[in-house]
Point group: C2
Chain length 360, copies 2
C-alpha cells in the first residue's frame, strides 16, 4: 500500500501530498471523487494524489511517512480506518501539520466542521499551514467569514494559496468566476437564497407541516442539522453573506456587521398567507455597495413570481449579481447534495495546482 506499489502510475507523475483535516461527509465524498479523477489529474496536470495525513478531533491525528496513494485508499471500505492502521499517531493538529509538512505534504484540505462563534480551531489550522508554506483549501465558512483579509495577507506573505470555493453554493465557481472571469465588471450588489435548510423548512410549512414537523422532515432528508437553529436563525446565511460581501464587493465586514433576522419568529399564518398570495417567504441575503461602504443583511422576505429568486424552490440555491458592464447575472445551483461541496474542494485543488504550474 505504499506509494511505490502503484505500478500503474508512470514514474513521470509528480506526487501531490495532501493532508486531510476533518473526516465528515465532505471528506468522505471527496476521496472517491478525487480517485475517480486520477486519470484526468495525471493527463492534464501530471500529478498523482497521495494522502499523507488524516486528522480528526475525535479520533486523533495520523501521518504516514510515505503517504498512501489516494486512488488505492479510496478503494478501501473504510479509508480512514485503513489509513490509521498504517500511520503514526501524533498528539495535536499543530503537530499534525508540522509532521505532514516534513513528510512532504504541500496542501492542507481543511474540512472540519464549522464553529460559528469565531471560526476556531479551523482558523488556527489554516494559519499554521499557510505560515509553514503550505497551500490551503477549505470548505469551512468560519475562518473565511471571520478572517479572510488576514488569511489572504498571510498567504501572500508566504507565497502560497488560500482557496474556499465550496464555502458558498458548494462547487458552483462563484469566487473563481468573479476573480478570473468577471474582472473589471463593476460589481454593485447581490441578492441570494443561500441557506437550503430554511428554504426547505419554509417549503414544507407551506405544504402543511408544522415548524417542528418541517424541521424533522428536513433532518430526515439529510438537509437540516441535529441543531437546526444555526440555519433557521440565519447564521449560516450570515456567514456566507459576509464572505460574498467581502470577496465580490470588496467589503471588510465581520459576521456581526451583517443585519440578521432568521425565520424563528415567523408565524405559520404569515407563511401560509404569503405563499397563497403567490409571494412565498424565503430567507434572503443581500448586500450592496454605497460609495466605498458595503451594507449587508439576511432577512425573511416575500418573493414575487417576477423575482428571479423565485426559482429557489426546495433546496435550490440562487444568487443574482448586479453589475455595471454585464447587467444582472443569475446563477442557480439545483438541489445540491454533498458531492457538490466535494467538487468545490476538488476544483480548488485543481486551481491551486494550475497556478503553481503557471508560477514555476
Amino acid at each position: 500500500m505504499s506509494e511505490t506499489s502503484l505500478s500503474a502510475s508512470p514514474a513521470s507523475l509528480s506526487p501531490l501530498r495532501l493532508l486531510l483535516l476533518g473526516y465528515g461527509h465532505v471528506a468522505q465524498t471527496f476521496l472517491p471523487l478525487l480517485a475517480s479523477r486520477s486519470e484526468w489529474l495525471a493527463s492534464e496536470l501530471g500529478i498523482r494524489a497521495i494522502i499523507s495525513g488524516i486528522g480528526t478531533r475525535s479520533q486523533g491525528y495520523y501521518i504516514h511517512p510515505n503517504g498512501i496513494d489516494a486512488t488505492l485508499l479510496a478503494r478501501e471500505t473504510d479509508p480512514k480506518r485503513s489509513f490509521i492502521k498504517q500511520a503514526n499517531r501524533v498528539d495535536t493538529a499543530e503537530i499534525f501539520i508540522v509532521a505532514g509538512k516534513t513528510a512532504g505534504a504541500s496542501l492542507l484540505l481543511e474540512l472540519t466542521t464549522l464553529n460559528p462563534q469565531d471560526g476556531q480551531p479551523a482558523l488556527t489550522h489554516i494559519h499554521s499551514a499557510l505560515s509553514s508554506g503550505m497551500d490551503v483549501v477549505t470548505a469551512n465558512k468560519g475562518p473565511v467569514a471571520f478572517a479572510l483579509a488576514d488569511l489572504q495577507a498571510l498567504a501572500r506573505q508566504h507565497h502560497v494559496q488560500f482557496r474556499f470555493e465550496s464555502t458558498v453554493m458548494d462547487g458552483l465557481p462563484l469566487f473563481n468566476l468573479t476573480q478570473f472571469n468577471l474582472q473589471a465588471v463593476g460589481m454593485r450588489s447581490f441578492r441570494a437564497l443561500l441557506n437550503t435548510t430554511s428554504s426547505l423548512v419554509l417549503s414544507l410549512i407551506e405544504q402543511g407541516y408544522s415548524l417542528e414537523e418541517g424541521i424533522r422532515q428536513a433532518q430526515k432528508l439529510g438537509v437540516a442539522e441535529a441543531d437546526p437553529w444555526y440555519d433557521l436563525d440565519g447564521w449560516d446565511a450570515v456567514m456566507k453573506t459576509t464572505i460574498l460581501a467581502n470577496t465580490l464587493l470588496g467589503g471588510q465586514l465581520t459576521p456581526q456587521m451583517v443585519e440578521r433576522e432568521g425565520i424563528r419568529n415567523l408565524s405559520l399564518d404569515a407563511i401560509h398567507a404569503s405563499a397563497r398570495a403567490g409571494t412565498p417567504i424565503r430567507l434572503v441575503s443581500q448586500a450592496h455597495k454605497i460609495h466605498r461602504q458595503v451594507i449587508a443583511e439576511v432577512r425573511p422576505r416575500p418573493i414575487s413570481q417576477e423575482d428571479i429568486l423565485h426559482v429557489g424552490k426546495g433546496t435550490t440555491s440562487v444568487i443574482s449579481l448586479e453589475t455595471e458592464a454585464m447587467g444582472t447575472i443569475t446563477l442557480v445551483e439545483h438541489e445540491p447534495v454533498v458531492i457538490q461541496t466535494a467538487y468545490g474542494v476538488l476544483s480548488d485543488l485543481i486551481t491551486v495546482l494550475q497556478r503553481r504550474q503557471q508560477v514555476t
Copy 2:
C-alpha cells in the same frame, strides 16, 4: 494625439497595441468601455491600450504608425473618423493585419458582422492574424462555429491565444467558466434559450401582436435585425449551439450537423394555445453526449412552469448545464444589451493579457 502626448500615463506602463476590424455597435460600445477601464488596466495589468488600426469593409482599412491612445480616442465625438484622419489607408484586410503587426499591434479584435454561410471573411482575418503571431479576440460566431478546432490548432502552433467569450450569451463567462473553473466536472448536456429575437417575437405574439407586428416591434426595440429570418429560422441559435457543443461537450460538429427547426412555421393559434396552457413555446437549444458522440438540435418547444428555462422571459437568455459532479447549474443573463457583448470582448482581452503575463 500621438501616444507620447499622454503625459498622465506613467512611463512604466507597457503599451498594448490593438487592431479593430469591424466598427459596428460592438466596437463603438467597446471603445468607451475600454477607456473607462484604463485605470484598472494600468494598476492591475500595467498596460496602456493603444489603437493601431481600425478597418471596415465599407470605409477602408487604416493604420496609424504610432497608434493613438485608446482613452484619448474614445473622447472624440466620432472616434473612427478622428482615427482615419490621422492614419494611413491600406488596400485590404490582409495588408491591414500585416501593416498593423509591423506597427507593433499584438492583438486583433475581430468584430465584423456575421456571415452565416461559411464565416468568411472573418475566418480569413483570424487565420492571418494567428499565423502572424497575434492574439485574436472575436465576437463573431461564424469563424468559431465553422472552424474552432482548426483555429485552436493554429493558435497553439503559433503560441498565441484565440478567445471568443462574447459569441454566446455575450460577456457571461460561459467558456472561461468551463475552461478554468468547472474542470473535470463531467459535463453531460445542456439546454438553453440563446436567441433573443425569437424569444421576444414569441412573447409579443403571446401579447396579441401578429408575426409581422411582432417582428416590427422587435426591430424598433433594436433586438431584431433588418432581416429577422436568420434569427427566426434558428440559424443564430444553431451557430451558438454548435460552439457550445464543441467547447462544453467536446463535440466536433459543424452548424450543418445541428438539427434545426425555426419558428417560421408555428401557427399563431399554436403559440397562443401553448401560452394559455402555461407552457409558452420558445426556441430551445440542446445537446448531449452519448458515449463519445455529441448530438445537438434547435427546435421550438413548450416550456413548462417547472422548467428552469421558464425564466427566459423577454430577451433574457438562459442555459442549464447538466454535470456529473455538480448536478445541474443554470446561468441567466437578464435582458442583455450591446454593452454586455462589449464587456465580453474586454473580458477576453483581460484574459489574454493575464495569460501572457503568466507565460513570461
